[in-house]
Symmetry: C2
Subunit: 163 residues, 2 copies
DNA sequence: CGGGCTGGTCTCTTTTTGGAACCGCGGAGT
DNA sequence: ACTCCGCGGTTCCAAAAAGAGACCAGCCCG
C-alpha cells in the first residue's frame, strides 16, 4: 500500500505511471492498438499468465481505458479501447521512436506509415504558442492549478518533501 | 527468464518496455529530468528502497541511459542523463499530456512552459511527409528492415506465432 | 453424448520487492 | 586522536507480485 500512494501526488507523470508502469500494461495496450481484443488472443500474443492478464485487463477496464463487452455476433468477450485508451497512442509512439533510434541496430522492425501517404508518423514535442520544436532543456515547469488544489487539502502535509 | 526474452522480439515498442516498463524506472527518469542526480536524492524524492534504487540505476547505466560519475568538485557520485537518456523526454511528455487530460480533475499540477515564450510544450503525432496531425486510426504498420534481419536469424523459429 | 472452444478461477512455486540494519569511506568538529 | 555524520552501497529477511498449470462452467458442433 505504499507504492499506490504515489497516485495521490500532484504530478501528471507519476499518476499515469501508477496505472501504466508495470511489466505488462503497456504491452497489453500495444496489442490492443494492433487489433487484439480477446482474452485468449492477448494471452498467446504476449505470453502473459492468465491470472496476470485477468488482473491487468480488469484494472484497465476500471480506469476506463478498455471497455469489456460481449461481442454483437455471438457470445465471446471483447476488450476494446475507449477514447481515453485511444489517447494513449502518442505514448506508445514516443516509445517506438526511441526504440527505433536506440534499440533497433538493423533498422526499424516496422514502419508506422501514414495511410494513403508516403510519410511515417513520429512524435514531436512542440510549443503550442510559437510552434517550434522543443527539447527538455527548453522546458521550465511552473506550478499549475492542480497543485494549488492539492495543497489546499488537509492530508497533504505529510508528503510535502517528496515531489 | 521468460519476460526478459521479450527484448528479442522485433518490435520497437516491446524492446524499450523491457528496460523501462516497471514500477520505478520511468519515475527515476522523471526525477533525473527534474535535476535529481544523487543517490540519496533519488531515494528521498521517490520513496524507493535503497536496494531497488541501486539495481535500477545500475540497469540504466548499463543501457547507457544514465552516466555514473564522480562529481568534479569533490567525492560524491552523480547520475546524469546521457544523450540517449535525454531522448526519452518525449515519452514522459506524452505521459504527462495524457495525465493532464485524464487524471488531473483540478487542472494540471504543473505547466511545462517553453522558456522565454508564453506557450507550453505538448507532444504531437505528425506525418513526416505531409506534416499533418495523425491519430492511431491513420497509421498502418508495415514490415521494415529490422524485421527481415530478425527473420534471417536461426533462433527465430520458435517464437513466430507471437508478435 | 463427447469434444473443443471460450473466459475465468484456484493453488502452488518462484521471483521481485520493501524495509531496515549494517559497512567503509571521507570530512568536520572538538 | 576520537567521535560523529552524511555519502554511496550491500546484505538479509519478510512480504508482495508474478508465473505455471490444473481446473471449471457455459456454449456450440458433430
Amino acid at each position: 500500500m505504499r507504492y499506490e500512494d504515489l497516485a495521490d501526488l500532484p504530478c501528471s507523470i507519476t499518476r499515469p505511471l501508477v496505472v501504466l508502469g508495470d511489466r505488462w500494461t503497456l504491452l497489453l495496450l500495444k496489442a490492443s492498438f494492433a487489433g487484439v481484443r480477446r482474452f485468449n488472443a492477448f494471452q498467446s500474443a504476449l505470453g502473459i499468465s492468465r491470472s496476470r492478464l485477468q488482473d491487468r485487463l480488469g484494472r484497465l477496464v476500471e480506469h476506463g481505458i478498455l471497455e469489456r463487452r460481449t461481442a454483437h455476433d455471438g457470445d465471446h468477450v471483447e476488450y476494446r479501447l475507449t477514447a481515453k485508451g485511444h489517447a494513449l497512442y502518442p505514448i506508445l509512439m514516443a516509445i517506438r521512436d526511441w526504440g527505433d533510434t536506440y534499440m533497433a541496430p538493423d533498422g526499424p522492425p516496422a514502419h508506422y506509415r501514414h495511410r494513403d501517404c508516403t510519410g511515417e508518423a513520429h512524435v514531436q514535442l512542440t510549443c503550442d504558442a510559437c510552434g517550434g520544436t522543443v527539447t527538455a532543456r527548453d522546458v521550465a515547469p511552473e506550478p499549475g492549478p492542480g497543485l494549488q488544489a492539492h495543497l489546499g487539502r488537509p492530508e497533504t502535509a505529510a508528503e510535502q518533501q517528496r515531489q
